[in-house]
């Protein structure tokens, strides 16, 4: 059971290091998916927004880490 718990914890840790980055990425994806499915946003535009959004979130995450540390 300990091994299963350890593997499960590691599996979650594979995707979440900075919780804020993971949360913002999920919110971005959910927002774009909703806009494509419900508001008829062209899927290609959704893909381009996803690319730009991911890069903005990444830049924001590393900037926050850089400011946090001396």
């Amino acid at each position: 059971m300990n091994i299963v718990h350890m593997a499960a914890k590691e599996f979650v840790g594979m995707f979440i290091d900075d919780g804020s980055l993971a949360l913002l990425a999920l919110v971005l994806i959910a927002g774009i998916a909703a806009a494509v499915k419900l508001l008829a946003l062209p899927p290609l535009l959704g893909g381009i927004l996803l690319l730009i959004g991911c890069l903005v979130i990444l830049a924001q995450s590393v900037r926050r880490a850089a400011l946090r540390l001396p």
Binding site: M6, E10, I16, I29, A33, L51, I57, L58, V62, A65
Partner: protein
Amino acid sequence: MTNLAPLVSTVSAAFLGSFVEVVEAFTIVLAVGLTRGWRPALTGAALALAALAAFVLAFGPLLALVPITTLQFVVGVLLILFGMRWLRKAILRSVGIVPLHDEEAAFSNETAALRRQAGDRRADYLAGLAAFKAVLLEGVEVVFIVIAVGGAHGQTLAAGLGALAAFLLVMMIGLAVHRPLARVPENALKFVVGLMLTSFGIFWTGEGLGADWPGADLALLAIFAVVALASLAIVRWLRDARPAPAGGNLR
């Protein structure tokens, strides 16, 4: 060319991602082997590989039941999270905010821990467990990389062969030098793999949403180029904004 681009990208991502993970697992197995003997080291490693194989055989066929657009979307989202995590850490390491991963230090720490347990009557069991854990935990990441970069385009076999090639290469080098592979430029590899996985994630999430990327599969290369340029710009921006780091580089 249209078919070759994703194949080369898939095999490269699987090979490079697996190479880094296998190097880390090898360090621990080597520490166990040299400190407590090869029997617990190889038993632990073999049991972990068997557990991983059982996991793949049990859950792998289920992927065929998932509709391709759903699979692309789910795998794409997971790859974005996984790839951006690698990329973030590689960027922070390259500017010296996070220390570089040091295989010599990991080897020394593991060896010291095993020596402390030498008096324990369960020392061989604990050593085998250390090897088991290392191979299982790094192996889970290898399995995910193979399934994620290969599964959404029906190239799991090619991705698996890329991972197998990485495994064999690390074993050959490791058995030849008989010490941790400390000279492998781990952070540079992780940087590239982070770029590749993030690009795959964005591409497939877009496809899962119904995006008809211009140039079809070749769009993956364009996305990779944009993510790479942006990441290098972020590194430069952080370097300019911070004082010179001690030991921070792409290696």
